[in-house]
Symmetry: C2
Subunit: 218 residues, 2 copies
């Protein structure tokens, strides 16, 4: 998230200058999006450096180099920043799964998990961002608002996966539980590969091995 | 962890009193174990309350009500406390898996995952403790010492699982990758059920569903 911002930074300045020249000094949506992203990146750095509890809104103002008023124009609270960070991690994953539902032939299970991983890796492009998402999982145990926000995202993920699984088994009624099982496998793969980094098996190998393990004789 | 301590707290005081009566004022191993546990429980509360970064050793001295010298007699640093917390979460799991390797008939995959869950639930008996373990996963991304400590534990878990899987498939060479696949599934089940709490399917159902998902026609 942090690296991406530094590349995209110069664009809105040019836009505003162009707007001023033709007598329209309004702040463009693009500029607002970039500024919003800038605040989220600064918050990510603060949370990663000081931890979630110890980071205050003034820490974030200082890191991003904006006044309190400017930041509050985008986010009403630290909680709102956290929710936006969670959302910005999940939204591209959901969009990609939505697109995948149109692909022919239907994506197979390892390919579905790879789509999730690829999109998460694009958003979580720094160790700080990856660490932060896992910290939020930890927080969700104790903070009801974070739990509710994450639950909302996970239910959307569940529904998208159910659609994809339905395409793999045409004519059969796919159980909702199948999508929960796939979420467990996807989360576990993410933790074991990206967070703990204890092994680096391709998803296809991991899924093949799991198939062997689960097909042990009754 | 916290609740357990409050129950066990009174015991060592009685022991020491008994020792003094018969002229042996030495601190027993049992007393040392209890005191050590008391420090770890206080650290868990501090980490859960202030976050990992913002917690200092003096915070822990204050929480446990002991002098710095008393605490340093057990742990040389915050890092050492973290390693002990990770170890205390993993040790009962490894012991249970070791015991499970003697059971006849061999444990099946859902039963193996249930053993892991049961032992983790016993150690992580408060939301604070559960949250903390996940926080440590997040920390391991950025702190090499935590990563090394967790990697050591996960490799021991891998080897224990490989032994159990070998018993399920006698005569066949079990791939090391199978144990990694089972770790991914176990971690994902833990995150989805205990941390995010998005569903509460029994492990057997989850595993059955995954078997269906993975057995889709080639």
């Amino acid at each position: 998230m942090i690296i991406r911002f530094t590349v995209a930074w110069a664009a809105p300045v040019v836009k505003i200058a162009a707007g001023l020249q033709c007598g329209m000094p309004r702040v463009s949506q693009e500029h607002r999006d970039k500024r919003r992203r800038q605040i989220l990146d600064a918050a990510t750095l603060c949370f990663a450096r000081k931890g979630f509890h110890a980071t205050s809104m003034p820490d974030i103002f200082a890191e991003v180099g904006l006044s309190s008023g400017a930041v509050y124009g985008y986010f009403r609270s630290k909680q709102a920043i956290i929710e936006a960070l969670l959302d910005s991690a999940m939204r591209p994953v959901l969009a990609a799964l939505h697109d995948a539902a149109e692909v022919e032939p239907p994506l197979r299970v390892p390919e579905i998990i790879d789509v999730i991983h690829r999109e998460m890796a694009t958003v979580l492009d720094t160790d700080e961002a990856t660490s932060l998402i896992v910290q939020f999982w930890a927080e969700s145990i104790r903070v009801p608002q974070i739990r509710d926000s994450q639950r909302h995202d996970v239910i959307q993920l569940h529904d998208a996966l159910l659609t994809l699984l339905g395409r793999l088994q045409p004519g059969r009624r796919v159980s909702s539980d199948s999508a929960w099982a796939l979420i467990a496998l996807g989360l576990g793969t993410f933790i074991s590969q990206t967070v703990l980094r204890t092994n680096s098996l391709p998803t296809a190998t991991l899924v093949d091995q799991l198939r062997v393990v689960l097909s042990e004789p009754e």
